[in-house]
């Protein structure tokens, strides 16, 4: 509003003070008005119901204000900065008028007119407020309201222990829905264990909980799980979905990023240590700036390193192309991710035009863009410039050494490319060949002596400057500069003029300001979603007008208030939610409820869910006894100095994608080729923010449990554990307890025994050695149990 208002004001001033000269008006009337009328008004007139791109060329104000791109059509006195000139010349992607080119003389007239200061006598047709918003109305949208701390309604006994229950029960009563009873203790411990650590409870853990009749029994389970290392491995993964984590850069050759794992492990550690969410966000956006203050490197080296590593969030943005020319897309990816991930707003939609549904003008988008353009990003390597640079040295003493090699190696990339492209001229071919050879030799020498220093894929401060708007998102068409700042609808603060940095620190502060109504709401909604399978806002990445309204707005705000009150503690939020009656409901059916609320929006039951990809794989490893609990380290990529990836021969992980028995969160995730197992079971997309994973049920998934060698191996390992029991009856009992946490029912035991007999019979006369047949039969039974809905779904 401010900017747009400014321009309107500017136009008015222009009118009053500089009434156009008679010569100027004559020029306009003779050359410009007819030209505009003949070529432009057809699409860009206030007389039209829907002028194209919201641009009006039949009024002075309209021309100055511009269309939905956020840039004015003309900059008086500056033809080369005027969009309209680029468009009629057809130099960029924006070509006007469509399908026609103006005569050279007409273009010259237009240029001349703008050079004269665009004298324009038209006073009619004030610009329509198409690209601006009705801010008063826009702020009415629920998500922009300050977070409230509503009083929970009163609820009957059993529902009065937690405010969560009181809010939920009131809604259920209002909708005349009957809540499900308490879940069984077995269902509850399975639910809690998977929810918090992504693994099945062991039989011993189940037993201990079933035996514990104290009122604190469940609380003890929750606390035990929250304190385990595995907790971060599960909840860190939720965050990695949001930030579209990958171990490769995503450029045309998909260069590997060996140090990316540090960020992944930083996320896991942050969840484990219950790092306050505001700090968590601040460090990811501005960790490098935080680290540079107070001489931290010498005071607390570990903290300093961690802060640098945290900015891997920004560095991990997707790369495009084979060189560096398409870096604007990387910044777009950052803004898109930050918008959806932290603010729950599709800010990325304002890249090419003002957001069509939410009050986010393009100028806001480029206000953020300038901040990220003023930042330097580690370069992971691309086909044309394969050597890395801009990484953060994690050993301050070695920073200069790292920089030396980065500058030398990337400098050689540049020189070699310049020679190849003919940008460096040589008198003779021989000289050129010699120069190339020398450079190659130097490259070889440096590669051979290259010290593999500790480093992080991170960002640092660049040259601070406001960015010019890329009209329609195209870097060839530059509009005016947008002052760096934050979203207008949430305050619209601009960076102070004395600001010396990129503005990331201020952005981090603005995001985590207690008054920012979105950050806390979005995160508590994600936590809620992680427990219930659906958010209070069903569209966790879109709290805008196109997203779903909250099913229980008071509850959302109450939770957000508690979150803020607790100092942004994620673990406290888990406790609060899990100790509620609502969380402990059974997942059973209720036909009448199902008619009224088939999607269970108001939570009359717990949502049954299929285990996600990581849970399936980790569970198989856990019950087979093969799970390697050690935290994952760096991926076993080939050493950096040997990288020669191109778009023709991109990096592709070795056969089996560096298979490991560690938890699935540590699997190598590549951008141009999905990890096949995770892909099969709806793992998150390493190219795009994933707030909710879609769940599919496919025949290919069934084929996996029928025939996959990994699955078969785990089943055979389960047999190894089962056979250690003395009798078949004990074996059966052990297997059911291991997999399902319960003993087999009589009919299940009987059917299993008959099955074993049948399979042993099937194997008679087969190639399977006689002494292996019993074991094979048991493996067969284990595959059945591991493929079952009871194993793969959670009540």
């Amino acid at each position: 509003m401010r900017r747009i208002g400014g321009i309107l004001l500017f136009a008015a001033v222009l009118n009053a003070q500089n009434a156009p000269s008679p010569e100027g008006v004559a020029f306009f009337e003779k050359h410009i008005r007819p030209l505009l009328a003949d070529n432009c008004y057809g699409c860009h007139s206030a007389k039209l119901a829907k002028p194209m791109s919201g641009l009006l060329l039949d009024s002075k104000a309209g021309m100055l204000r511009g269309g939905s791109s956020g840039s004015s059509a003309i900059v008086p006195g500056k033809p080369d900065e005027s969009l309209i000139i680029g468009a009629v010349r057809g130099t960029g992607n924006l070509k006007m008028p469509p399908g026609k080119k103006l005569e050279p003389q007409e273009i010259e007239n237009l240029v001349e007119w703008i050079r004269m200061g665009a004298p324009d006598p038209r006073t009619e047709g004030a610009a329509l407020p198409i690209s601006s918003y009705d801010w008063e109305k826009a702020r009415q949208h629920w998500a922009f309201h300050p977070v409230q701390d509503p009083q929970p309604p009163r609820a009957p006994a059993e529902w009065d222990r937690s405010a969560i229950d009181e809010f939920i029960k009131a809604k259920l009563d209002e909708k005349k829905l009957i809540p499900q009873p308490h879940a069984s203790k077995l269902a509850l411990i399975r639910r809690a264990t998977y929810d918090l650590i992504g693994l099945p409870p062991t039989p011993e853990e189940v037993d201990a909980f079933l035996k514990d009749t104290s009122p604190k029994a469940f609380e003890k389970v929750v606390d035990r799980l929250l304190a385990s290392q595995q907790y971060g491995e599960r909840w860190g993964r939720h965050w990695l979905d949001v930030v579209r984590y990958a171990d490769t850069a995503g450029d045309n050759a998909d260069f590997p990023v060996p140090s990316m794992y540090r960020y992944r492990n930083w996320v896991i550690a942050a969840f484990n240590s219950d790092k306050p969410y505001d700090e968590f966000v601040r460090e990811q956006i501005a960790g490098d700036i935080l680290a540079s203050r107070d001489d931290m490197a010498s005071k607390n080296i570990e903290q300093w390193q961690q802060d640098l590593i945290a900015t891997g969030y920004l560095a991990n943005a997707r790369r495009f192309g084979s060189r560096a020319a398409e870096f604007h897309l990387t910044i777009d990816d950052i803004i898109d991710n930050l918008g959806k991930g932290i603010l729950g707003l599709t800010v990325g939609c304002a890249r090419c035009h003002d957001h069509k549904f939410d009050p986010i003008p393009t100028t806001d988008y480029y206000g953020l863009y300038g901040i990220f353009k003023s930042t330097r990003y580690a370069h992971a390597g691309t086909e044309i410039y394969p050597h890395t640079y801009g990484f953060a040295a994690l050993n301050p003493d070695k920073a200069n050494e790292l920089k030396y090699y980065e500058i030398e190696l990337s400098g050689l990339d540049n020189r070699i490319e310049d020679i190849k492209a003919g940008r460096i001229k040589f008198a003779t071919l021989e000289e050129r060949r010699k120069a190339e050879q020398e450079n190659q030799q130097r490259l070889k020498k440096l590669s051979a002596e290259y010290p593999y220093l500790l480093k992080a894929y991170a960002v640092s401060e660049g040259k601070p400057a406001d960015a010019r708007i890329l009209v329609r998102g195209e870097p060839q068409t530059l509009g005016p500069a947008a002052p760096r700042g934050f979203l207008t609808v949430l305050g619209g603060q601009k960076l102070p003029p004395e600001e010396k940095g990129s503005g990331r620190l201020e952005l981090a502060g603005w995001l985590t300001d207690l008054k920012n109504p979105l950050t806390a709401r979005v995160m508590v909604n994600r936590i809620w979603l992680g427990h219930f399978g659906q958010g209070i806002v069903a569209t966790p990445d879109d709290f805008g007008t196109r997203g779903e309204a909250p099913s229980n707005p008071e509850l959302l705000d109450w939770l957000a208030s508690r979150f803020l009150e607790s100092g942004w503690s994620v673990k406290k939020m888990h406790r609060l939610i899990m100790l509620s009656r609502t969380y402990q409901m059974a997942s059973g059916d209720h036909p009448q409820n199902a008619l009224k609320d088939p999607k269970n929006i108001y939570l009359w039951r717990f949502n049954r869910r299929r285990l996600d990809a990581e849970e399936i794989r980790d569970s198989l490893l856990a019950v087979s006894g093969n799970l390697d609990p050690a935290p994952g380290g760096q991926q076993p990529f080939p050493p950096e100095m040997g990288w020669k990836y191109t778009q023709h021969k991109p990096f592709v992980g070795a056969e089996g994608d560096y298979d490991t028995n560690q938890r699935s969160v540590y699997l190598m995730q590549q951008r141009i080729r999905r990890q096949p197992f995770l892909d099969l079971f709806d793992g998150s997309d390493p190219n795009a923010e994933t707030g909710v994973r879609p769940v599919t049920t496919t025949a290919l998934q069934a084929l996996y449990t029928m025939n996959d060698p990994f699955f078969h191996r785990q089943a055979e390992s389960v047999v190894g554990r089962v056979m250690a029991q003395a009798t078949d009856a004990e074996r059966m009992r052990y297997a059911f307890r291991l997999l399902y946490g319960r003993a087999p029912a009589a009919d299940e035991a009987r059917e299993s025994r008959q099955f074993l007999d049948r399979v042993r019979h099937d194997l008679e006369g087969s190639t399977v050695a006689e002494d292996q047949r019993n074991r094979q039969a048991w493996a067969s039974l284990m595959r059945v149990l591991l493929s079952s809905n009871e194993f793969l779904t959670l009540d």
């Binding site: 045309n252 998909d254 495009f320 192309g321 897309l329 959806k340 599709t346 939609c349 549904f357 939410d358 990445d541 879109d542 805008g544 196109r546 997203g547 997942s587 059916d589 036909p591 049954r608 299929r610 778009q647 023709h648 021969k649 991109p650 592709v652 141009i672 080729r673 999905r674 892909d679 709806d682 795009a688 879609p694 599919t696 049920t697 496919t698 025949a699 290919l700 069934a702 084929l703 996996y704 029928m706 025939n707 996959d708 299940e748 059917e751 099955f755 099937d762 194997l763 087969s766 190639t767 399977v768 067969s780 039974l781 595959r783 059945v784 493929s787 079952s788 809905n789 779904t793 009540d795």
Partner: protein, 452 residues
């Protein structure tokens, strides 16, 4: 044995009624379970029911194939500079008119040339990017920047599939193309609409082959699994997800049985094999891919993509345009054979065959004999499925450097494919991240003129 098993056992082992089997099984879907792959009606009656999408990786030259430019040779001979700048490189392949339509194409694809009366050649293709990775994504997804669902995913999302025992969208690609599996990814569309890459190896789809040592054992496993799952379901009523998973095992078993039949070419006649230029017993080469594609089409697969080569040693003829020759030889007869075979079986009339590449190649030389990337003008063609045969759409200038008439942007190409299948491309949308996305973004015009 339920009815499904009955149906299967009736038709198993018989290659006579593959389509019928698929149809019988497709119509059975569990009550209360919305099967996203069930056949769906498009917006209006389309002229095509299924698609074979042939993609040549690396950028096939238009001026050496379907848009011959004798002027280039003339200018090269005379050492003249092209109007509009730049040298000229003539094509090593002479051209002449073919068929009743008399459309002139070069000898690069002598067999496809004989089919021109069935082709609608688009000589005015235009893409948004001049680099492989981006342009490859562009021709598949409409977007050269951010990842989007593939055209095959959109088609199967819109139409479902006719045979539940086979994947709805099959990709036959011996090597990974540029941008890898993103090319056939469903992206934000549900994963069931992702392309399934099949190979000619011993296990065409991962985990397809029975691993249990004897068949009876696997059957026993599936039967016990179903009993346990049914019991579990009785204790957990009213959940379609549980039912869907039980069904998925039936389908998987069907797939395990059906897929080898699709790939079993033993019942194909010598004449048919010869048509595709493939030898009995060989699973190598594009002939095999084309023949398998036809068999997929017969069995109700909705969308088959054929990619000839991967991201290297492909059509990217920077050094020498003659490298097009062996690549063309490898696909020429198979594609001509495919067209003839589809036609003789009456399948071509409702099967749309699209032939495309990520961009063309420069009319001027790169080095001595090579050609650079060229997205400003290139050629593709469509055949069957309701497009006119023996026509040329669009025109480039006399050097193949600029589109002179009727540009067909990639979005227009996609819009036209969707139109043939019965879709208004502006209405085949999916709500994602607060916005309705479509294959053609905010652009695309159906090329009405080429519709039969």
């Amino acid at each position: 044995m339920n009815r499904r098993h009955m149906v299967r056992s009736l038709f198993l082992g018989s290659s006579m009624f593959p389509a019928l089997l698929g149809e019988l099984l497709a119509k059975e879907s569990a009550p209360g379970v919305a099967n996203p792959l069930a056949p769906k009606a498009p917006h209006f009656a389309g002229t095509a029911k299924r698609v074979i999408f042939i993609y040549l990786s690396g950028g096939m030259s238009h001026v050496d194939s379907f848009d011959p430019k004798p002027k280039l040779s003339e200018y090269q001979r005379e050492g003249k500079t092209r109007e509009g700048g730049g040298k000229a490189l003539g094509s090593p392949w002479p051209s002449k008119p073919h068929g009743q339509s008399g459309i002139e194409v070069t000898d690069l694809f002598p067999n496809i040339a004989e089919c021109v009366d069935d082709l609608c050649i688009v000589r005015s293709m235009r893409g948004d990017h001049n680099d492989h990775f981006q342009a490859t994504l562009g021709i598949h997804t409409g977007s050269v920047t951010f990842k989007r669902p593939s055209v095959g995913s959109w088609v199967t999302y819109g139409l479902g599939t006719e045979n539940q025992n086979l994947p709805c969208y099959v990709v036959l690609a011996p090597d990974l193309p540029y941008a890898g599996s993103q090319v056939w990814s469903s992206d934000f569309l549900p994963g069931v609409f992702s392309g399934t890459r099949m190979s000619s190896g011993p296990e065409p789809v991962p985990d397809l082959n029975r691993r249990a040592p004897v068949a009876a054992m696997q059957k026993d496993e599936l039967s016990l699994l179903e009993r346990f799952n049914r019991k579990h379901q009785r204790q957990h009523p009213g959940d379609p997800m549980l039912e869907a998973r039980i069904k998925s095992y039936e389908t998987a078993f069907g797939m395990q049985m059906t897929m080898p039949q699709v790939l079993d070419l033993s019942k194909e006649t010598d004449a048919t094999l010869a048509l595709y230029g493939t030898e009995r017993g060989s699973t190598a080469g594009f002939g095999w891919q084309c023949l398998v594609a036809r068999r997929m089409m017969e069995r109700g697969v909705r969308f088959v993509e054929l990619i000839d080569v991967g991201s290297s040693k492909n059509w990217d003829a920077h050094g020498d345009i003659h490298t097009h020759a062996p690549l063309a030889r490898a696909i020429d007869q198979p594609i001509a054979g495919l067209l003839a075979d589809l036609k003789s079986r009456g399948l071509l009339q409702d099967t749309l065959v699209a032939f495309t590449t990520e961009f063309g190649r420069s009319p001027g030389p790169e080095g001595e004999m090579g050609r650079g990337h060229y997205n400003r003008a290139y050629s593709s063609w469509l055949a069957g499925g309701g497009v006119k045969g023996g026509v040329v759409y669009g025109k480039t200038d006399e050097f193949g450097a600029k589109i002179a008439e009727k540009e067909c942007h990639v979005h227009d190409f996609h819009a036209t494919i969707l139109h043939c299948l019965g879709f208004d491309h502006t209405k085949l949308t999916f709500r994602h991240a607060g916005r309705d996305y479509r294959l053609t973004d905010v652009a695309g015009n159906v090329v009405q003129e080429i519709l039969a």
